[in-house]
Amino acid sequence: MTEASGLIGRSTPRRDAKRLAEGRGRYTDDLDVANLGHVAFLRSPHAHARILSIDTVAARQAPGVIAVITGEDIAAVCKPWQTRLAPLPIHSSPPQYPLVRGEACWQGEAVVAVVAATRAQAEDALESIMIDWEELPAVPSIEMAGASRAAVVNTAKDTNLGLDHAFTAGNPEQAFASARPLSSMILFLGARPA
C-alpha cells in the first residue's frame, strides 16, 4: 500500500467538535416540539415481586395527565423481546415486556408510565398510583442464582440457567498442564453483594 496524500493516515479535525464544545449540540431532549408530552415511570421498589393489583384511578384524574399506561395496556400493542440464539436452540430466556406484566424481576424495572403535560405533573401523578405487591425471594448475585435449589429470578422459568454450553479447541488440559506461570483471576463489575 502506498501512502496517499489524502486523508488516510492523517489526523483531521472533527467538523462538529467546536460546536459541541460550545454547548451548541442538539440532542433529543433539546428539541422543542409543540404539544409534547412528558413521561415518568413508576419503577419496582423490589428486586422480585408479584403485582396483585394496580390502582391508577387517581393518577388518570391528576392535573395535566394525558395517559396512564400499564404493562397490560402496552402488551396489547407491543410484542415482548425474547432472546433466541439460532445456533444454540437450548438457550432459554423469558419474554421481556416494556412494562412489568404481573411480576417484577429486578429493582427499578418500569411498571407504569404516566404521560403528562409536564414532567413534574407526570411525577406528581405517579405518587398517587397504588400497587399491591407480594414480595418474592430475591436472588442478588450470580453465585446465588447458580446455587442448587436457588430461588428463580423469573417464575416464567423453572431454572436460572439460560445456557449450559462448553466447547474446546485443541487440548486445553495439556496446554494448562504445561503452561508456566499460570495465573487466574475472577473479575466482578460493579458492586458485589457481600
Binding site: 479535525p13 459541541l20 460550545e22 449540540g25 422543542d32
Partner: protein, 160 residues
C-alpha cells in the same frame, strides 16, 4: 405544589427576572424556560456533572440547585462562558485533541475545568481529582486531562 417565587439574578451578564415554582430546579429553568440547552441533564441526582454551571465563580450542579437559589447570584452557563471567550483556550485544546465524542458531558467538563484553572496550576492528579465528578461515557478521560493540562501549562507559561 403551586407555591411560586419571584427571582432576580444575573445570567451570562444579563439580568433575569422570573416567577418560578418553588420546586423548579435550575437546570430545568435554564433548559426549558430559557431554552439554554447547552446545560445538559444526565443523572438528575448530582453524580454525572453534565449539568454543571458556574454560580458566583464556582461550579455547581444545576440539577441539585433550585431556581430560587439562584436569586441574587451571578450564573454563567456554557453559552455565556463561550460568548465572552472565558474558556476559549480550553475549548481549543478539547477540539484539537478530540477530547469529546458525543459532546454531552463537555459543557459540564469545561465548567469544572474552568473553575479548577481559576485556582492556579493543577497537577495531573489534581485534574483527575477535579474531574471525578464529571462522567464521560464515550471518550475516556485521557484526552480531556491532556487538554486541561495543556491549558494549565499555557496559563503558567511552562511546559506540562
Amino acid at each position: 405544589m403551586s407555591e411560586q417565587h419571584d427571582i432576580a439574578f444575573t445570567l451570562n451578564g444579563k439580568p433575569v427576572n422570573a416567577l418560578v415554582d418553588a420546586r423548579l430546579n435550575l437546570a430545568d429553568f435554564l433548559r426549558q424556560t430559557l431554552r439554554l440547552t447547552g446545560t445538559h441533564i444526565g443523572c438528575e441526582h448530582g453524580v454525572c456533572g453534565a449539568c454543571n454551571v458556574m454560580i458566583d465563580g464556582r461550579s455547581v450542579r444545576s440539577c441539585l440547585t433550585l431556581a430560587v437559589q439562584a436569586d441574587g447570584a451571578e450564573v454563567e452557563t456554557i453559552e455565556g462562558l463561550t460568548a465572552r471567550n472565558a474558556i476559549a483556550d480550553l475549548q481549543r485544546e478539547f477540539v484539537a485533541r478530540n477530547a469529546l465524542q458525543c459532546g454531552y458531558c463537555t459543557p459540564g467538563m469545561l465548567v469544572t475545568a474552568a473553575e479548577l484553572l481559576s485556582r492556579g496550576k493543577p497537577s495531573r492528579t489534581e485534574i483527575r481529582e477535579a474531574l471525578s465528578g464529571n462522567y464521560c461515557r464515550c471518550t475516556g478521560y485521557q484526552a480531556i486531562v491532556d487538554a486541561i493540562e495543556a491549558v494549565a501549562a499555557l496559563h503558567s507559561g511552562s511546559k506540562p
